[in-house]
């Protein structure tokens, strides 16, 4: 079989099959990436551009809002995956233990991830509303009036409140993936642990977590990447405010490129390029640290 396949490459067919995809890729991905990197060394105004060398990078290093955005994004990318995946693990174990109504639970928990960040953002802006949002209504009902506050309008609570939203949105999704991983484990192993009578905590730490390690790490990395890109949710709810407390790198790039009337596309390109390098580097680092990869089958 291999001989027959390797016999001769039908170049005309290969070219025909690959050309459309590669053309689109070059025109709308590769070229824009190169152009952004080029932009980062220039001042780019609507009708002229000027080479400025590393001036943008020097300015970026001194840009306090940028560093604030980096900090917020990193906090987000490092905390949310932990919440999501640990909630997901508990939920997946519950379903794995065959609680009644498991099918319904699985479908209900998965719904948040189907909605766009725009929809989710508006709904949660309402839930956090000071006067009639569910959070404050519940607090007042419990007699905790003093705790009620405009959650997204207070610098100290805005970022945690949004992090909670992303965890809410993605926990069910991670749960479904973990459940698939649990079902693919040999059931004897878990039954054996059952017989050894090592308690549910022992079972979790010594049996289930080590066995699903590959999937768990994969999910953590995936969620990390997602949060490093986060834009829509912030843009719809707080636009980075109050006082830059929810500014992320993505929203700052957008602001500098299209909101602030500086009309310069060079500086935001510099931010994008630096962030690009950071994302690639941290993903490489993470996957090098975690190494293990598992492919999920169709």
């Amino acid at each position: 079989m291999h001989e027959a396949r390797a016999l001769r490459t039908p170049w005309r067919a290969v070219t025909l099959f690959l050309l459309p995809a590669l053309t689109l890729y070059v025109a709308f991905t590769a070229y824009p990436v190169v152009k952004t990197l080029w932009n980062s060394l220039h001042v780019v105004l609507p009708n002229r551009h000027e080479f400025v060398g590393l001036a943008n990078f020097v300015e970026l290093a001194k840009d306090d809002i940028f560093w604030r955005a980096v900090r917020n994004t990193l906090i987000w990318a490092c905390t949310s995956p932990l919440f999501e995946v640990s909630i997901a693990l508990v939920l997946a174990l519950a379903l794995y233990a065959k609680v009644p109504g498991a099918r319904f639970f699985r479908i209900a928990w998965f719904t948040p991830v189907l909605m766009s960040y725009v929809v989710v953002g508006i709904i949660w802006a309402w839930i956090y509303n000071y006067d009639w949002g569910a959070v404050n209504v519940a607090l007042r009902w419990l007699g905790l009036q003093d705790w009620a506050r405009p959650w997204l309008g207070t610098p100290a609570t805005a970022l945690p409140a949004l992090i909670l939203v992303t965890s809410w949105m993605w926990a069910g999704f991670n749960m479904v993936v973990l459940l698939a991983a649990l079902h693919s484990l040999p059931s004897e192993v878990i039954e054996a642990a059952e017989l050894d009578n090592c308690g549910w905590w022992g079972k979790l730490v010594h049996v289930i977590v080590p066995l699903t390690k590959g999937t768990l790490l994969n999910l953590l990395v995936l969620s990390f990447i997602g949060k490093m890109k986060i834009f829509d949710l912030v843009w719809i709810t707080t636009k980075g405010g109050p006082l830059w407390s929810t500014e992320t790198v993505s929203t700052y790039v957008y602001k500098r490129a299209f909101e602030w009337s500086t009309f310069d596309l060079g500086y935001p390109s510099t931010i994008a390029s630096v962030w690009f390098a950071i994302v690639i580097a941290s993903v490489l680092l993470l996957s090098w640290l975690l190494r293990q990869r598992e492919k999920l089958e169709f």
Binding site: F17, V33, P112, M115, I123, A134, K229, F298
Partner: protein
């Protein structure tokens, strides 16, 4: 033991309320008027004002947004599936020197943050007169989903035994015929998975749309909702109706293809 089970069920019920409650809440508000809502935000609809959907559709521009979204998503997904399947097939089936290099480049693109292309895409589309055009947005959508689509389909084509194709070739099929008459039909389950996955992801896409579209007449649903939200901040009832218009198609897909969809999203996740 029974006590413990009740406790677990209670906790799971509470989590379900937390996960699905917001959706049910918005669904209820979408058929109540803003006056009714401001009296009590959490009441069951006394009267079901279905006409609010017609009002939003004809009166608040949702007809335009919905049509634009449908046009862009359908054409992008169709193009994406064809172009992606062709490329994935070539990468999985033929051996040639650049094969793994191309595959690796496409694969790494999946993790690129969108900022690295979005500013330049804005410049490029303006330059070629594709700014503010649904065609421009469609092409960009094809490009951003292409790497993941090719990756998923390549994995699938890899697993089809090569003898099948070789046999077809011996029967006198040309390369194109083998692809069109053998490979594509076999790949139908994988193709439908990527179709559903891409449809949902693009239906919800916001960042590229907000940068590349500003015309009222070219807005897609997420942009329309954002616009309506900005203009009619106080009209909670109508905003909720608009949200439902955006959610319903996705929910319908979910109802009919939930297994496929979950499979697609998890497969996409596990890259």
């Amino acid at each position: 033991m029974r006590l413990r089970q009740t406790l677990v069920l209670l906790l799971l019920g509470a989590y379900t309320l937390f996960a699905a409650g917001p959706f049910v809440w918005v669904a209820m508000m979408s058929v109540r008027t803003t006056t009714e809502i401001s009296r009590n935000h959490y009441a069951w609809p006394e009267q079901w004002h279905w006409h609010k959907f017609a009002d939003a559709w004809f009166g608040s521009g949702y007809q335009v947004y919905f049509t634009n979204s449908t046009l862009v998503v359908c054409s992008a997904v169709a193009l994406l599936t064809l172009v992606g399947a062709m490329a994935a097939y070539a990468l999985a089936r033929y051996r040639f020197r650049a094969n793994r290099t191309i595959y690796f480049i496409l694969f790494s693109t999946i993790i690129f943050p969108p900022q690295i292309t979005v500013i330049a895409l804005f410049q490029i589309l303006v330059q070629y007169g594709l700014y503010n055009s649904l065609i421009g947005l469609t092409l960009v959508y094809v490009a951003i989903q292409l790497p993941l689509t090719i990756y998923l389909l390549e994995t699938f084509f890899q697993r089809i035994p090569g003898e099948l194709f070789d046999a077809a070739r011996i029967d006198g099929y040309g390369e194109l015929e083998v692809f069109w008459k053998i490979a594509l039909p076999i790949a139908l389950p994988a193709l439908s998975t990527t179709v559903i996955l891409n449809t949902i992801l693009l239906w919800n896409e916001f960042l590229y749309a907000v940068v590349l579209i500003t015309d009222e007449s070219s807005r897609t649903l997420p942009l329309g909702i954002q616009r309506f939200m900005g203009d009619q901040q106080q009209d909670t009832g109508m905003i909720a109706t608009g949200l439902m218009i955006a959610i319903v198609p996705v929910v319908l897909i979910y109802v009919f293809f939930s297994e496929k969809l979950i499979k697609g999203m998890t497969a996409g996740a596990m890259k």
